[in-house]
Symmetry: C2
Subunit: 343 residues, 2 copies
């Protein structure tokens, strides 16, 4: 817009303006614009002419009100800065058909009060449904109060099993990672991961333990090395593992950042990756995995697919057919240069 | 929501439903709900009672239509996956007053046709204004077509100087970085940066050259080492710089990722950072800067402040007072462990 100093504040023409100009009631103007039969042809023409003169575009919003639908969805996230919300959001946006549905985005920043506030604002804007994206995989309390529209929880499931939750299969992801290392011929596999207070850390470890048990093995050291999600822990833990278990020939890391730290320590110690020790990460975070030395093999959680599924499930719930159910999505191995068969 | 299999599709009650139940016209129901004087007290009471029975909440959306305002803003971004949009978006959300204004988020993914489509969808939803966030600092063409609401461009300015653009002062940022290195007593300063096709790269280099010229110095090698924004280039370029200019005592990097690569090479070469060589990055990307060895000093672009300013300027334009103008924001030095005074 090229705003001129003397242009008054912009005000969109309303249905009332159109009705006034056409000399009809608001109800008649509304019926005419929405193509209902109850209006005479001449009246409709007069209303449409007035609408045109006022640049009263067919208004998705007003039409939605008349149909009892707004074509808008609220997306409530709790950590926009984290890396998990964005691919989910993009998947949801894609699935809902460009322009068919618009997404209101709110970030509660992990604050319950802010969340209540946002939900109220979204409902007052008559969203047709809500997608709630969590920042960790631990179950979260369902939205407070009575929510009169369908809700789908993504990444973090609702603690209420009757709710629709779309989540990552972290147990399966841990299993995938270890099965890949086993396929590379590795037998002495350590697991360095994040805080044990995170369900994601415990689930991935459970999957890893199960995959090892399937072939009669156990984790090096007998249990996971829990610590933090950061590189710093990866660096320190790699030192500990190599010292305690010099026979280590593979490390499964609970995040790409941990894996990056592990790679750095192994490099400092002169251990060859992937030859002597293969390393696999988790998250497939491009910025880390594609630029480490060597480039990092990792488990991708398919977050865009989660977002797309959330959107599809939400619309199924809004349309009121067969009620959608919760769903878990498996990850996949993205192979780069940090894992290889035994020499 | 706990959807039962036999619950019909959710349909919000409309003003028409309320009017029907109260036995009045839609126009009267509307006036009653919006507290206008033209309605008799008894009628108003009947309408409000009907609205209550139907759970027809005071509807921000419908009320907005009547006032010619919707209280919604469209935020059009072109790279949600990039790291720049999110802090801008958060700043804009904060500034607009929680719940007062809702933000429609659309990601055009750098595609002009998709952008036209999104803009049309947003306008049909009667947004009060648009915030357009670019992914690089090069000027972008203004939105196509006639946009009947105010528009504010953020990060990437509009190519039309009459538009309102809120941008980062990259020349100033380059100057800040070099002035910090000079303050540490460094004199032999190299500049390793991204692709020269990016205005951000050229602007930061210009600022660096100017700051050096102020004290009678020039860049080591006579000009910037342009390459790519990635670590890989940082690693390679650091080798080149150390070989060509063994006297190097500081490196200003055009991004934190480049800086990270530089730190790794200097470590491989046994050069002490920050003692022998001080390194400063650009972006203050926490995930990189806070976990590198040593932790990285960097220039922060204050993106949240940009977002907040965009939002404030947009509302000023919507309110139609003194027309807001374009604005540039300076960055700031965030000191960590990779820069220090000469020993």
């Amino acid at each position: 817009m090229n705003a001129e100093p003397d242009v008054p504040a912009y005000r969109a023409p309303t249905l009332t303006d159109v009705a006034k100009l056409a000399g009809v009631s608001v109800a008649t103007a509304s019926k005419a614009i929405n193509g209902r039969d109850e209006v005479k042809a001449a009246t409709r023409e007069r209303v449409l002419k007035a609408a045109e003169l006022l640049s009263f575009a067919p208004n998705a919003l007003a039409q939605g009100l008349l149909r009892g639908r707004t074509g808008t969805v609220g997306l409530l996230t709790s950590d926009l800065e984290g890396r998990f919300s964005i691919p989910i959001l993009m998947g949801a946006e894609d699935a809902s058909g460009a322009g068919q549905v618009s997404v209101f985005l709110c970030d509660a920043r992990g604050d319950a009060i802010r969340e209540v506030y946002h939900v109220r604002a979204l409902l007052s804007r008559r969203v047709d449904g809500l997608i709630v994206v969590g920042s960790r995989t631990d179950p979260r309390p369902p939205l407070a109060g009575t929510i009169p529209v369908p809700v789908v929880y993504v990444y973090a499931p609702s603690a209420n099993p009757d709710d629709i939750s779309i989540t990552v299969d972290n147990v399966g992801g841990g299993r995938l990672a270890v099965e890949h290392l086993l396929a590379c011929g590795r037998r002495n596999i350590a697991h360095i991961t994040g805080e044990s207070s995170y369900k994601a850390a415990r689930d991935r470890a459970d999957g890893a333990v199960a995959a090892l048990a399937d072939v009669g093995l156990s984790m090096l050291g007998g249990k996971p090395y829990y610590g933090s999600w950061h590189e710093t822990w990866g660096r320190a833990a790699a030192h500990i593992v190599v010292e305690q278990h010099p026979e280590v020939d593979a490390v499964f890391c609970g995040s790409d950042q941990i894996a990056r730290g592990v790679l750095e320590t192994l490099r400092d110690l002169g251990r060859d990756v992937p030859g002597a020790i293969s390393v696999i990460g988790f998250d497939n975070w491009e910025a880390v995995a594609a630029h480490s030395r060597p480039r990092l093999t990792s488990i991708d959680m398919n977050l865009e697919r989660l977002g797309a599924a959330a959107s599809q499930h939400l619309f199924a719930a809004i349309d009121g057919g067969v009620p959608p159910t919760s769903e878990q999505f498996p990850g996949r191995v993205v192979m780069r240069d940090s894992t290889a068969p035994n020499r």
